[in-house]
Symmetry: none
DNA sequence: TGTCAGCCATAGAAGAATTCTATCAGAATC
DNA sequence: GATTCTGATAGAATTCTTCTATGGCTGACA
């Protein structure tokens, strides 16, 4: 025999725990003669008596005790290997930390989480909300596995996949001059006062970009901390704003005092993407998530 | 397959080290197909690909790397077990717990421990002192490996070997009527007041047995806790006593105020024996000890 | 481009090890 | 003294591992 066998160590540990060959054998789901013979073989191989066979009780010799301690460690390591294998064998299982922009998360998640849970039931999603800069930082630090944000960003050691393009829509007070009709042209916005998010939100920059092109000016001394604040300010007639379309769908579509109008083509949009470390071991799971989000975000 | 096999882990580690199936197989002293097949089996069992088979080089996958780390630990533990076994395989080595009667230990040990150490240098003797009943109890419980006590005892699952017969001697105050001359006959003791040990010491029962036969009576309201107490009480003239001969040899022979007289034949004696569990794995070492004690106790 | 060498996978047979059931022997218990 | 409990033994069936021989694929080299 060239190698100790884990099975034999299992038998030995069972005897150590049971103090009884028959019960140890039962615990190992083998017959008593099998366990006896294997233990005897192990003793012969090692050249030491491991078990003292009393008439009512089997107990370990000193050598047996010391060896059982090592044996337990080996069996644990063996379990570890199985554990590692299980974790690695199903790339679509385990914990995955996903961050989303504050201007995306609350509006996108209700649309996709049911589908994610259904399609990837063994994936435990941990959800976070960060603005672009801290999100990239935490991504690179390994604090999160993937992030949903507005492209483009500075990829560097990162990999990205475009998920969907989200149009902006115009939100105006109900009694506003632009509060009626179907699509609205960006040119119609010239001269309007626009309300924007505070610094740090990429949506602010994207909206500013649109505004500067069409001749709108930002309402001074006002910065909203969230889209919901923004929406309420619009409702109270302070000005107009640009919202990402998902923020006007579903329960968010029926805000009192606010009229939402889509833009005529070509509508201003922002690209939304999924970003992860190029070296990430969770690539497969991340791509599965990307597929589901891309398919159902705007659909 | 119920268990990962160490052999397969060895193959995996060999591939990790060699980066090459053929060389790994050679390192394991098996054919290349054997190693390939077993690794494939291991991968199937674990449900993960462990080795990336390149055209010129075999490298480990991430799962493989993580598992190899555990595998190395297991192989090391396996070596440890072999090492422990080798160290324990010498039946005359290791720890052996030996108990002696309080009326034997202090007088026998100085005579035999130097010889035990010389003859059994790899044996680590742990010495204990117990009276007969607790000694047998601890023996049966496996707390000690062997015991030196006065025979006969109720052997039951135990095995015994007679070591030597120890005569009793008479100890009297220096000015006592029996304090002079060579041997003394038991019949001369009639009417004497004898001091005895407290309950639990088998020596007490043995001495009582002698006393009752020769017409001595025990000093009431006195029970010594040790032979040395007894000896001092004799020296102070309270009475006489019986001592085991070894307790009057060497440094114990020159007690002031006490005269020791051997008995004329047939002298009363007690048999001293070594007792151990019949199932004990240390039988060989115990018998070696018995041989040495028997040879040098009374010599 | 065709041949060769290196590398791993596959196939089938031989051999070894493990397992089972049935039974035995020794010790403790009633 | 019969019975029960415990571990050891025996022989057959099964399962696993190993071997040799060979195939298929890829890269190197003339």
């Amino acid at each position: 025999m060239a190698d100790i066998k884990l099975r034999d160590l299992r038998y030995l540990v069972a005897v150590a725990d049971a103090g009884h060959f028959g019960r140890a054998a039962a615990a190992c789901h083998v017959s008593q003669p099998t366990l006896s013979a294997q233990l005897k073989k192990l003793e012969a191989y090692l050249g030491v008596q491991l078990v003292e066979r009393g008439t009512r009780h089997a107990s370990l010799t000193t050598a047996g005790q010391r060896i059982v301690a090592r044996a337990r460690a080996m069996l644990e390591a063996s379990d570890d290997i199985a554990q590692i294998a299980r974790a690695c064998s199903d790339p679509l299982a385990g914990r995955l930390r996903l961050a989303l922009l504050p201007t995306i998360g609350p509006y996108l998640l209700p649309r996709v989480t049911p589908r994610l849970h259904k399609a990837l039931p063994r994936l435990e999603l941990m959800l976070y909300e960060y603005q672009t800069a801290p999100m990239l930082e935490r991504l690179r630090a390994g604090d999160i596995d993937a992030g949903v944000l507005a492209l483009p960003v500075d990829l560097d050691g990162l990999e990205a996949l475009r998920l969907y393009d989200e149009p902006f829509v115009l939100a105006v007070p109900a009694e506003h001059r632009l509060g009626k009709g179907g699509t609205v042209r960006t040119a119609d916005l010239a001269g309007e006062t626009v309300l924007l998010l505070e610094d740090g939100h990429c949506l602010r920059d994207q909206a500013l970009d649109v505004c500067s092109r069409v001749g709108m000016h930002e309402k001074q001394d006002f910065r909203a901390t969230s889209l919901e604040t923004l929406r309420q300010m619009v409702a109270s007639g302070v000005g107009v704003t640009l919202l990402p379309e998902l923020a006007t769908r579903g329960v968010y579509g029926a805000a009192r005092g606010v009229v939402v109008r889509p833009f005529a083509k070509p509508a201003p949009t922002r690209g939304v993407g999924l970003v992860w470390r190029r070296t990430s071991a969770r690539r497969e799971a991340i791509e599965a998530i990307a597929k589901i989000i891309a398919a159902h975000a705007m659909g």
